[in-house]
C-alpha cells in the first residue's frame, strides 16, 4: 500500500492503496465518479478514457502510480449538465448517443486529438478514433457531433 496524490478535475485527491491498481478503480470506486467506466479492462474499447495532462489515456490499464501528481480530467471535469463544454453540447445538439456508455472514450479521445490538431479534417479525425467502440451504432452521429465541435474550434 502507498499513498498517492493526484489532481482529479482540479481537486487534489490522496488515496492509500496498492500502487499497481489501475486508475479506473480509484476514479470510479474511491472517488465515485460516473464518467469513466469499465468496458473491457484491456484498453480495447475506450469506455474508461480520461485525460492525463491533456492526453487521452485508458485508465483501466494505467497503474495509478504512473499518474501520481498528474492532472486527470474525466467527463465530469469538462463541463456539467447545466454548463456543458462545447464538445458535450455538440453531442447534445446532434443527439449523438444511444445507451451513452461509451461516451468517455468518444468525447475525450476526440477532444484530446482536436486540442493538438485543431485543423484536422474529417478523415483524420475519424482515424484518430481507432480503438474507440460504440456498440449501438451511433457512429455517424458521433462523427457529426465531433465535426460540429471541430468547426467551432476552428472558427
Amino acid at each position: 500500500m502507498s499513498r498517492i496524490t493526484l489532481r482529479v478535475n482540479g481537486t487534489p485527491q490522496t488515496v492509500d492503496l496498492d500502487p499497481a491498481t489501475p486508475l479506473l478503480y480509484i476514479l470510479a470506486d474511491d472517488l465515485q465518479l460516473n464518467g469513466p467506466k469499465f468496458g473491457c479492462g484491456l484498453g480495447q474499447c475506450g469506455c474508461c478514457t480520461v485525460l492525463v495532462k491533456g492526453q487521452a489515456v485508458r485508465s483501466c490499464i494505467t497503474p495509478v502510480s504512473t499518474v501520481a501528481g498528474a492532472e486527470v480530467t474525466t467527463l465530469e471535469g469538462l463541463g456539467s449538465v447545466e454548463k456543458p463544454h462545447p464538445i458535450q453540447q455538440a453531442f447534445i445538439d446532434e443527439q449523438a448517443a444511444q445507451c451513452g456508455f461509451c461516451l468517455s472514450g468518444v468525447v475525450l479521445t476526440a477532444k484530446a486529438y482536436l486540442d493538438r490538431n485543431p485543423k484536422a479534417g474529417e478523415a483524420e479525425i475519424r482515424k484518430a478514433m481507432s480503438g474507440v467502440l460504440c456498440r449501438c451504432g451511433a457512429n455517424t452521429r458521433m462523427l457529426k457531433a465531433i465535426m460540429r465541435y471541430a468547426r467551432g474550434v476552428k472558427a
Binding site: C45, V81, Q95, Q98, R126, G137
Partner: protein
C-alpha cells in the same frame, strides 16, 4: 438506498411519495412471465399515473430505457395525452415495488405495448377523460365544451371558468379502473408526441453525471468477482482456499456447486483474488470443431421441428418445374457484446433482497432469482437501472444472480461487474443458422413454389419466471436449462404465424384457407429444426428474424439473377402487401435505383472469364432487401451501395437508404437514431462478427478475438425515409433496419462482382476467397 433517494439520484424529479399510491403488486401469473409476453400491467389507473398538488405528473411504466429512447418517448406520450408540457412529467420505470408488471422490455414490443390503446396509453387517456369529467362537474360545464391546456381544464367559451389538475386531484388518488373505452387524442392534434423531443438522459450522460447500474453505490457495499470454468460444461473438483488467504481485502470465497466467486472490499482486490484462486476444474465434454459446425448442425438427427406453413403440394411443384433454384446459407453465432460488461448490485439481508440490475425483465428476474436464493419472491425487490445497450439478453440477468449469490453468502451488499472474458465466453449467443432454400420457377420467371428448411441450435434463453438454469450462473449453481424435447416430424400448422420471419415475404402464408402472409406464392412449405446447442443461446436483436431474412432476401435475388430480372421489380411482382410494397418503392426511389438485372457488369465479367483475366480494383454495386418484421411489427426496406476491393476482399458500405413504416411516429429523431443504429450494428454483424471456439472453450473473449466495427471505420451515408401512418397501430422500430442489412449487402456485393456470398460474416478473407473462386 431508499426508493426516494434512488429516484432522485436517477435524475428524476423529487416525488412526494406520501401522495403517490404505488402500483398494487398484482401477483405473478406464471403464464405471463414467459419470454416475450407483456405482463398483466395494472388495471388500476393509480398504478400508472399520479398527480401531485402542484399539478406535476408522475407516471409509472413497466417498459424500460435500453438506449433506444423509450424513456423520452413514453414521457412524450404522457405529456401529450394529459395535455401538459413535457417537463411536467416524471417517469418511473421498471421497479417491482413501484411500477406495473409489464413483463419484459424486448422484441420491439414496447412501442406496440404502450403506444396503442392499452397499458400506459390507455391509462393516460383514462386519466384525461376522468379529469375532464371531474372538471365538468366542478365547473358545471358539459365535458364537450371543455378544453385542456397545460394541465388546466377550462370552458371553451369562457376561460374564467377553469380548474387545474392539481386542484382536481392533487395528493389524492383516482381510485379508478382503466377505462377500456377511453379515447386517445387524435394524432392530428399532437403537439408533443410525434415531435423530435431530445433524449432526456443525454445531457447527464455526456457530462458523466448519469447513474448507470455500474454507478449504484450502496453503503457497506463489497465487490465480487466470479471464477468461471475454463471449459464449457466444466465442474469443480476442489478449491484451494489457502491460495487467496492473506490477500488484502479478501472477505470470502463462495462456492455453490460449479459457481465460484470471491468477495473483497475493493473491486481490484476481488479481481486479483479471483485470478489467484486455485480451482481444480473437471473438464466438460469437448466441443466439436468450429470449422465444420454448420455441417454438424445440418446433420443433427435429434431435432425439434416446427412447420409454419405447408400447402401440401410443394414436392410436386418442385418435381414438375422447368427450373428449380436452390441455395444454402450459413449464419454464425454472434454476441450481444455490450460495450460495458454486465454489472449488478445485490443486497440480501436474511429473507429479504434488493437487486439493482440492467435487466430487461425485472419481474421475471425477481421470480427466478427467488429460486436461486431460496427466498419468497414477494420479499425481493428488483430495481431497473440502465446499463450499456443490451440488444437482447446480454449478461444483465446472469450477473444479477452472481451478485445475489455472493451477497447472500456474505450478508452484505455486493457489486459484481463481469470481466470481458467472463461475459463474452458465457453469453447467451445469438443463434447460428443453416438455411436451405428451393424455389420452382415457371416459364415466365414467376416463382410457383417456395420451400424453406432451416436448422438452428438452442440452449437456455431468457430464464422467465422459473428457469434460472437458462443462464450460465443458474446453470453453474445447479439449475437445469429448459429441457430440449425432440419432435419430428412437426405437426401441421393450425393457424398462420410468421415464425420469426421463417416464412418468406413472397408467399401467401395460407393456413386453413386464410392467407396471413405478404406475398403471392401459393405453393409453400416452411420447416424449422431446433437442435441442441453446445453454448447458451438467447434473443439477440432481431433473433431468428435476421437470419431467416438474410436467407430469403439473398435467395429472391438469386432467383431474379437466374432469370436476368431486376431485383426490385422481381420482389414487387411477388409481393401483395401494400405497405411492404410502399417501403420497397420508397427505398428504391430515394436510392436512385436503376432497373436492370444484377450483376452490374455481367457482360464484362463473362468477357474477363473468357480472357482468363481476373477483375481487380474497386467494384461498386447496389442491393436491396426488405422485411415485414415478425410478419406484423414494422416494415423496412433498404438499398445498400457497396465498394468491393477485389484485391483484398474488403467491403465498404458507401450508402444506405432505409425506408421504414412502423405506424404512427412517436419521435422522428428517436426513430432515425434507431434505424441508423440498427443499420450500423447490422454492418458490423454482416462484415465482421462471429463467435469462434477451439475443442474446449470459446476463443472469442475480447475485442481482438471478436472483431466489431470501430469509430475509425468508414461508415456509409445513411438516408432514412420515415413513412408516418398515424391511423395504423404503433409497431416496433428497433429491429427493422438491422434485419435487412445482411441481405442488402450480400446482394450489393453480388451486383458489384457477380460473386454470391452465402455465409456471414463477409470478412475480407472470405470475400477474397470467393472472388478468387469465380
Amino acid at each position: 438506498m431508499n426508493r426516494r433517494r434512488f429516484i432522485v439520484r436517477s435524475g428524476a424529479l423529487v416525488v412526494s411519495f406520501g401522495a403517490v399510491r404505488l402500483a398494487q403488486n398484482v401477483g405473478l401469473d406464471t403464464a405471463v412471465m414467459a419470454q416475450g409476453l407483456n405482463g398483466p400491467g395494472s388495471r388500476q389507473l393509480d398504478g400508472w399515473i399520479a398527480i401531485r398538488a402542484d399539478g406535476s405528473i408522475t407516471a409509472f411504466t413497466g417498459k424500460c430505457e435500453l438506449g433506444h429512447g423509450l424513456y423520452t418517448a413514453q414521457t412524450q406520450l404522457i405529456a401529450e395525452e394529459l395535455c401538459v408540457p413535457f417537463s411536467r412529467v416524471t417517469l418511473v420505470q421498471c421497479d417491482t415495488a413501484a411500477t406495473p408488471d409489464q413483463g419484459t422490455t424486448s422484441g420491439a414490443q414496447s412501442h406496440p405495448a404502450n403506444f396503442n390503446s392499452s397499458n400506459l396509453a390507455l391509462a393516460a387517456a383514462t386519466a384525461r377523460e376522468a379529469l375532464v369529467a371531474m372538471a365538468s362537474e366542478r365547473l358545471s360545464v358539459p365535458a364537450g365544451q371543455l378544453v385542456v391546456r397545460n394541465g388546466v381544464v377550462s370552458a371553451a367559451i369562457d376561460s374564467t371558468k377553469r380548474v387545474s389538475y392539481g386542484e382536481l386531484i392533487g395528493g389524492r388518488t383516482f381510485n379508478l379502473a382503466l377505462n377500456q373505452n377511453a379515447r386517445r387524442k387524435s394524432a392530428a392534434d399532437w403537439t408533443v408526441l410525434g415531435t423530435p423531443v431530445r433524449r432526456v438522459e443525454i445531457p447527464a450522460m455526456v457530462a458523466g453525471r448519469f447513474e448507470f447500474v455500474h454507478n449504484v453505490r450502496v453503503p457497506g457495499m463489497l465487490h465480487g468477482c466470479v471464477v468461471r470454468p475454463p471449459s464449457t460444461n466444466g465442474s469443480v473438483r476442489g478449491i484451494d482456499r489457502r491460495s487467496v488467504e492473506g490477500m488484502p481485502g479478501v472477505v470470502d470465497v463462495v462456492v455453490r456447486k460449479a459457481f465460484v466467486g470471491v468477495v473483497a472490499e475493493k473491486p481490484w482486490q476481488a479481481i486479483q483474488a479471483a485470478a489467484r484462486l486455485k480451482v481444480d476444474w473437471a473438464a466438460g465434454a469437448p466441443l466439436g470443431p468450429h470449422a465444420d459446425f454448420h455441417t454438424r448442425l445440418r446433420g443433427d438427427a435429434s431435432t425439434r421441428d416446427t412447420r409454419m406453413v405447408d400447402s401440401g403440394d410443394v414436392d410436386a411443384a418442385l418435381s414438375k418445374a422447368g427450373t428449380v433454384v436452390r441455395a444454402r446459407y450459413h449464419y454464425p453465432y454472434q454476441m450481444h457484446g455490450s460495450v460495458g460488461t454486465a454489472c449488478a448490485v445485490a443486497d440480501v439481508q436474511g429473507d429479504k433482497a434488493t437487486i439493482w440490475a440492467a435487466s430487461q425483465a425485472v419481474w421475471p428476474l425477481r421470480s427466478s432469482v427467488a429460486l436461486v436464493l431460496g427466498l419468497r419472491q414477494e420479499n425481493i425487490r428488483v430495481i431497473f437501472k440502465q446499463g450499456p445497450g443490451c440488444y437482447g439478453i446480454n449478461g444483465a440477468d446472469t450477473v444479477a444472480y452472481d451478485a445475489a449469490i455472493l451477497s447472500q453468502a456474505v450478508g452484505k451488499p455486493v457489486r459484481v461487474q463481469l470481466s470481458r472474458r467472463d461475459e463474452m465466453a458465457w453469453e447467451n449467443y445469438g443463434v447460428a443458422y443453416v438455411s436451405e432454400e428451393r424455389a420452382a420457377v415457371d416459364q415466365e420467371g414467376t416463382i410457383v413454389a417456395w420451400d424453406y428448411e432451416a436448422w438452428t441450435p438452442t440452449r437456455g434463453g431468457r430464464p422467465g419466471a422459473g428457469t434460472p438454469g437458462n443462464l450460465v450462473t443458474g446453470s453453474l449453481a445447479g439449475f437445469e436449462p429448459v429441457a430440449f424435447q425432440p419432435r419430428s416430424p412437426a405437426p401441421a400448422p393450425t393457424a398462420f404465424a410468421n415464425g420469426n420471419n421463417s416464412v418468406p415475404s413472397y408467399v401467401t402464408g395460407t393456413v386453413n384457407g386464410r392467407a396471413g402472409g405478404t406475398g403471392r406464392v401459393a405453393s409453400q412449405r416452411v420447416v424449422i429444426h431446433s437442435v441442441r446447442s453446445p453454448f447458451f443461446t438467447g434473443p439477440l436483436r432481431s433473433p431468428d428474424r435476421l437470419q431467416n431474412t438474410f436467407a430469403h432476401e439473398s435467395f429472391i435475388d438469386e432467383i431474379a439473377a437466374s432469370r436476368r430480372l431486376d431485383p426490385v421489380e422481381y420482389r414487387l411482382k411477388h409481393l401483395s402487401d401494400p405497405r411492404l410494397i410502399a417501403v420497397v418503392n420508397a427505398a428504391a426511389k430515394t436510392g436512385n435505383w436503376q432497373s436492370r438485372p444484377s450483376p452490374l457488369g455481367a457482360g464484362a465479367l463473362a468477357e474477363a472469364a473468357r480472357a482468363s483475366a481476373r477483375p481487380t480494383g474497386i467494384a461498386s454495386g447496389r442491393g436491396i432487401s426488405c422485411v415485414l418484421y415478425e410478419g406484423d411489427n414494422g416494415y423496412c426496406a433498404m438499398v445498400a451501395e457497396v465498394d468491393v476491393n477485389q484485391d483484398t476482399g474488403a467491403v465498404i458500405v458507401r450508402r444506405l437508404v432505409i425506408a421504414n413504416d412502423s405506424g404512427p411516429i412517436s419521435n422522428p429523431d428517436g426513430l432515425r437514431n434507431q434505424l441508423e443504429g440498427g443499420a450500423i450494428q447490422g454492418i458490423s454483424r454482416t462484415l465482421l462478427e462471429e463467435v469462434t471456439w477451439d475443442d474446449r472453450q470459446v476463443t472469442s473473449v475480447d475485442w481482438r478475438t471478436y472483431k466489431p466495427i470501430y469509430l475509425s471505420d468508414e461508415m456509409p451515408a445513411i438516408e432514412t425515409i420515415l413513412i408516418n401512418r398515424p391511423d395504423m397501430p404503433a409497431a416496433g422500430a428497433g429491429e427493422t433496419a438491422v434485419t435487412v442489412v445482411a441481405g442488402a449487402i450480400a446482394n450489393a456485393i453480388f451486383d458489384a462482382t457477380g460473386v454470391r456470398l452465402r455465409q456471414v460474416p463477409f470478412t475480407p478473407e472470405r470475400v477474397r476467397a470467393a472472388l478468387l473462386a469465380r
